[in-house]
Assembly symmetry: C2
Homo-oligomer: 404 residues x 2
């Protein structure tokens, strides 16, 4: 039995006609003798209209009941998708998250997968049926319905593929795969045929919107290869796996841009042990995820500490910092500014030096000033003025010869 | 622990404001120290819009998946109702049909209740919580979601009340209770304070739209008393139970009218054993429920057979009969006509004679011709011309002194 898992997101199943198109696509694979498991999201818009009603009733809706409400979205889609398959002669049966044995733990609306049993999916597949599973949802030990938060259906698909030892797991989306850069910014950006988990993770966390990091992290942890490809085309997409052949020859795989960051700085921070740690503890308590961090060398026992936070958290971050400084921590809050973060990503960096210098030189030649720099083992990120972001992306893309 | 079950139908939870109103009503009972279980239907309109999408995909949607789709309707309502309760300080927790241990058997979309365990509802009630249960749905032995068909939420409420040994079960609806006749036809019709299961059943099956017969049959079989009352008023409604005190003094409890019947007749049916039985076998195979049946005395070895069927089945009935007669069964299909069926119902009939003569005399005095007559132990029904239906109802109502 060759099992394939195919995941279709909210846009791909957005209306009746699109659901019919998804069914046709599934039929093709099923007709070729594959045992097909389909994972679907709520139709685009459904989640929002359910939320609207919840907020009309209660400003802060109960977490548990919000999950009961949200899970209706995918439940609708699995039923409609099965009908669409049945209508074109493909026997199909639906499974909600709990029926598929997707067991969760942790908080409502951001629960984690504890275990995936798959329920009787293998039995249904052996009987020749396509099994359509509701993404984004599972059930916890108390028997409560729970959801996974953003990108949750990708997570369901990857976890199911792992549990069922699927031959492959295809994440259908509205782009053709992972690109060397955003094609809207860099016209000659190329689709990447294969990429490893780490690079995919760095790209995802650096502004490439193709997938949420949680699903990729899960795939990496359990080594479940998958493919990102387009719902609206038959071209092959990007394979994401543990090792990519001859990858070591590729110095840089892609360039990502994140325009959604704000630079926050604290000047004249006392240069004593724990001063910076206290700042980040305040950020953590406020639920703000800090990204790039730069601290310069102290002069006169005073240091400048600069870091970036997501734009939507900037106000909260500043408020928490202002209170912290008022309590006598020392230092003054500088003016926050928007920045664009450009990241070059590639496992080849591990064994090759010179990536940073090439990157920085290219930016310098283009007259683009770097505001901050941060590096990881396989990534170099720089912050630049927002209006220079697209230019910087193009410059980096060309410097590493990533174009067609 | 005094458990009360309160059921609110689709109109009562039709929008966000109505759900809030239901929550307030529930709060009042909960504040008085009751342990409250709320059973809700899908918001009015939701079921239809789900069905529209199903039919847009498939003309005859798969039964199993139609049930998966339909159950989303009540699941949405339980979540929203819990939020509305929480918003006014009432701790609440929702349960889908399967979470409430409503176990079913039989066909999808018209499954029957096999057993109700109640799940952990008693535990939640002991913890001071209001439990909101999705009506109309359960789970079968294979783990499939199933629904009960029309009036299914009433059935859920009554079955839960039985399983939880509730002190009372209130069916909230858009009328104030069961009336001696339809108040739109008979302005001085009175609300009936108490009625027994049999009468309620006969009234329900004779055109009183207050409740579906299935739920009443279940209540009768398991002796679970309940009350029908209005969502939009605080007046007490109609108690439905096994024995109603001094009921024997009431000859007739109510008059019902059913305008949704068509009279079908077969003339010159051979007067031989099995000829009529064959006709009704054909009707059963076509899925048509036959109501009143009249066969006259045979003359020249030919009989006339007349019966009524629901209007929506009339076309199907005629088609099946035409085929049956073509196959040489003998007899000719007469012209079908609409009729109105007027029924007087009352357990008092058992011990009192003269009800029929009083009824027929009243109709005769009003110049209303009877087309058919049929009787049961506690009911007498006559078919009249549709345009005489309302008059006949008023005449019967007055003849038995049912008015205010």
């Amino acid at each position: 039995m060759t099992i394939v898992v195919k995941k279709f997101g909210g846009t791909s199943v957005g209306d009746v006609d699109r659901i019919k198109r998804v069914a046709k696509r599934v039929k093709r694979s099923w007709s070729e003798g594959n045992s097909v498991v389909v994972v679907v999201s709520a139709r685009a818009g459904v989640t929002n209209s359910l939320l609207d009603r919840a907020y009309a009733i209660q400003k802060n809706p109960t977490d548990r009941e919000l999950d009961v409400l949200m899970t209706c979205g995918e439940q609708e889609t699995i039923a409609l998708t099965c009908m669409a398959l049945d209508a074109i002669g493909v026997p199909a049966v639906s499974r909600t998250g709990w029926q598929a044995g997707i067991l969760t733990e942790g908080l409502h609306s951001k629960s984690r997968i504890r275990e995936v049993s798959g329920g009787d999916i293998r039995k249904q597949l052996r009987a020749g049926k396509v099994v359509v599973v509701a993404g984004f949802q599972g059930i916890n030990d108390s028997g409560d319905l729970t959801t996974f938060g953003r990108g949750g259906s990708d997570l369901s698909a990857i976890a199911l593929a792992g549990a069922l030892r699927a031959k492959n797991c295809q994440i259908f989306t509205d782009v053709e795969g992972v690109f060397t850069a955003d094609p809207r910014i860099v016209p000659d950006a190329k689709k990447i045929d294969a990429i490893n988990y780490e690079e995919m993770l760095e790209l995802a966390s650096s502004g490439s919107k193709v997938m949420q990091t949680r699903a990729v992290e899960f795939a990496q942890k359990h080594n479940i290869p998958f493919e990102v490809r387009s719902t609206f085309s038959t071209k092959s997409g990007t394979a994401v796996k543990k090792k990519v052949k001859s990858l070591e020859d590729t110095l840089v795989s892609g360039v990502a841009i994140d325009k959604n960051q704000v630079r926050v700085s604290i000047v004249e921070l006392p240069d004593r042990p724990g001063a910076a740690a206290a700042v980040f503890k305040v950020m953590a308590s406020a639920g703000v995820v800090v990204d790039m961090i730069v601290q310069n060398v102290a002069r006169n026992s005073k240091a400048n500490l600069t870091f970036t936070v997501p734009s939507e958290d900037a106000f909260r971050a500043e408020k928490a910092l202002r209170e912290h400084l008022k309590e006598g921590a020392g230092g003054k809050l500088g003016k926050s500014t928007n920045i664009a973060k450009i990241s070059v990503v590639g496992v080849g960096m591990r064994s090759h030096s010179g990536v940073a210098s090439k990157f920085f030189e290219a930016l310098a030649n283009a007259g683009i000033n770097m505001l901050m720099i941060s590096t990881s083992e396989i990534k170099i990120s720089v912050a630049v003025n927002p209006e220079k972001g697209d230019d910087a992306t193009r410059v980096a893309h060309q410097a590493f010869g990533l174009g067609k």
